[in-house]
């Protein structure tokens, strides 16, 4: 990996709810290098979106960041003043949300929504904003941008709406793009077009990308490195090819065997039994996968679990790795 642009260190986040405190992220740490595409993979409830929202500073009011650092180019964004963080968000780091239909404002034209972000961070004359809006739509290969900028979200297809979402995120040329399941709800053909676009932008402008998804095959196709999360823990980090060929954490291995593309017949497909543990529990085992794991040993329940390096750039949080 090149020099990191984003470094998460010991990020621990709780949600305070009426039915108790939920520990959603526990000691999450990983880096994203300059111009690197990193996939953050996990089931629903694994904490991958909370990680993204923590970085962007758009967590729900119930969330409390207990400890940790989020270093962006060496600066801890958690220590920034509110005004500085607001200037940073959208300009240096931007996010593409899951469902473009609900993320866009339904009663404003898509051109206005792109221009809003530009006007906020880099004010300019109306004519210049218009020209830059057209350029932003061109960059995401929206056909006929001069006409499409006057369209409302409901007039555009799902794929085109998502491209508008990407255009908004890239409006101020950020250095970090967080894509939170950017292609769920899109057709596979449209998904390929949107993901090709994100990759080509990352390559051409050294944009760092965090791709959040539960689809391991999608992440493997586009990412340089993968971060596997389970129940608020980072369980394995490695270059993509290494994860696919030589995953060491039992959860990663099971995840690989549940991908339809990987197997020849339906009998070989393996589901991961059990569910994520209830994160409100006070007696959570050190390894939160232990109760679903077929490689559990008595040592798995003893003391704090620390990720170990098993090869250069490959760390695993497991006491009995494969």
């Amino acid at each position: 990996m090149t020099q990191p642009l984003l470094s998460l260190r010991g990020l621990t986040v709780d949600f305070v709810t009426r039915s108790g405190t939920v520990n959603v992220l526990d000691d999450v740490a990983f880096d994203i290098g300059l111009g690197e595409i990193v996939g953050i993979i996990g089931e629903s409830g694994s904490g991958k979106s909370v990680t993204a929202y923590s970085v962007m500073g758009i967590l729900d009011r119930a969330a409390r960041i207990r400890t940790g650092e989020i270093l962006f180019d060496g600066t801890d964004v958690l220590r920034m003043s509110r005004a500085a963080r607001d200037r940073w968000r959208g300009k240096d780091a931007a996010i593409v949300f899951q469902n473009p239909r609900t993320a866009l404002n339904p009663i404003r034209t898509v051109g206005d929504q792109i221009a809003d972000v530009m006007a906020r961070h880099t004010p300019a004359s109306a004519a210049e904003l218009r020209a830059r809006t057209v350029a932003a739509l061109k960059q995401v290969r929206a056909p006929d941008p001069e006409r499409r900028m006057h369209a409302y979200p409901f007039e555009l297809s799902g794929g085109l709406c998502q491209r508008v979402g990407i255009a908004i995120a890239l409006a101020c040329a950020p250095r970090l793009l967080i894509a939170d399941e950017p292609t769920t709800g899109l057709d596979v053909t449209t998904q390929a077009v949107v993901m090709d676009l994100i990759r080509s932008l990352a390559r051409s402008r050294a944009l760092s990308v965090a791709l959040i998804t539960h689809d391991l095959a999608l992440a493997a196709e586009y990412c340089d490195r993968l971060v596997i999360m389970h129940a608020g823990h980072v369980v394995e980090v490695a270059p993509t090819a290494r994860i696919v060929a030589a995953a060491r954490h039992p959860y990663t291995a099971r995840l690989l065997r549940s991908v339809p593309a990987q197997v020849a017949s339906i009998g070989e497909l393996q589901a991961i039994e059990g569910a994520l543990p209830d994160l409100r529990r006070r007696d959570l085992p050190p390894c939160r996968f232990a109760e679903r794991c077929d490689r559990r040993r008595p040592a798995c329940d003893a003391g704090r679990l620390v990720p170990q390096a098993v090869a250069p750039g490959h760390t695993v949080a497991c006491r009995n790795p494969l």
Binding site: E43, A192, V193, H214, L269, A275
Partner: protein, 324 residues
């Protein structure tokens, strides 16, 4: 073997409001002359992009919609002449059941699991007593591996995979011969999807229930189905045995669809990319191929003459002038 379901020239047009009093009347061609045969116990995969008419076709087959034209026979009996509301009260309703896309949206949030599964039994098998009803609900829940302790819970207390299994349980509770599934796993995590796919495969093998599986994921269809039908803009563009279509798709659209699926391992061939959106299903010209404008292998001929669905070999059909 005699066909369980046989559709010939099945068509659904939606009339549109005229923009002005003298403007021509326009129609949206959602499904345009589809032939489809399903034999007992067979699993057929229906794939295509959103807007290609695959969900409309599924609803026509389930008789939730009235076709504009065409015939639909179930075990040799014509069922398309009955209106959708009359079909809901007919004896044939039991034979075709549907599993909907998003289990969170399609289960009544005010019904516990028992009532959700009992509801179709009460409507379609009303003369059975309480004890028989209970036994049927328990058997349906057991068939989808739903733990008995969940029977009194409400949908919001269930996980996504459990809700998907409730959706399947209520469809099989009345003993259908054909299950129509509209993207039943698209809302699920990959790890949960595997269980649901294997459950469907087991129901088909053990009970001989035929499946019409609607999906845009060719990989899933390949694993579950014997036969694949690929649709584009209301028409079938390719059909054939799943393994053959998956190994060597003949239609350029089927090739693009297959190459768009992300893969864990590096691919051997360059990917076929489809740029742009499909033509509008409203007022599309009838004298040219509907894939014109997006097809990577387009020839002048394609703009002059619409291809017909023609046999490629004994089991495969393709709608393209140039496919071999």
């Amino acid at each position: 073997m005699t066909a369980l379901l046989e559709a010939r020239g099945l068509t659904k047009y939606y009339p549109l409001r005229r923009p002005g009093p003298f403007a021509p009347r326009q129609q949206l061609r959602a499904v345009d002359g589809v032939d489809l045969t399903i034999v007992p116990g067979e699993a057929v995969g229906l794939v295509g992009e959103s807007g290609c008419g695959k969900s409309t076709l599924a609803r026509l087959v389930c008789r939730l919609l009235d076709p504009t034209a065409g015939t639909l026979r179930l075990n040799g009996t014509e069922i398309s002449t009955l209106s959708a509301s009359a079909f809901a009260r007919s004896a044939a309703r039991r034979q075709i059941q549907m599993v909907f896309q998003d289990p969170t949206e399609s289960l009544n949030p005010r019904f516990p699991v028992f009532e959700l599964i009992a509801d179709p039994i009460r409507r379609l098998l009303p003369r059975e007593g309480r004890a028989a009803l209970r036994a049927r609900v328990a058997a349906a829940a057991a068939a989808v591996n739903l733990p008995p302790e969940l029977i009194d819970r409400f949908p919001h207390q269930l996980s996504g995979g459990q809700k998907a299994r409730v959706g399947i349980a209520r469809a099989i509770a009345v003993g259908p011969q054909l299950l129509v599934l509209d993207e039943p796993t698209s809302a699920l995590d990959v790890s949960v999807q595997a269980t649901v796919l294997q459950l469907l495969d087991r129901l088909r093998r053990e009970r001989g229930i035929a499946l019409l599986f609607v999906s845009h994921d060719l990989n899933v269809v390949r694993l579950l189905c014997d036969r694949i039908v690929v649709m584009y803009l209301g028409q079938v563009v390719e059909s054939g045995p799943a393994a053959a279509v998956y190994a060597a798709p003949a239609h350029p659209y089927a090739r693009a669809l297959l190459s768009a699926i992300p893969s864990l391992t590096p691919r051997e061939q360059a990917r076929t990319r489809l740029d742009g959106d499909p033509q509008s299903p409203i007022g599309a010209p009838l004298d040219r191929c509907r894939f014109c404008g997006r097809c990577p292998e387009e020839q002048p001929e394609c703009g002059r003459r619409a291809p017909a669905l023609r046999p490629l070999d004994a089991e495969r059909q393709v709608r393209c002038h140039f496919a071999r």
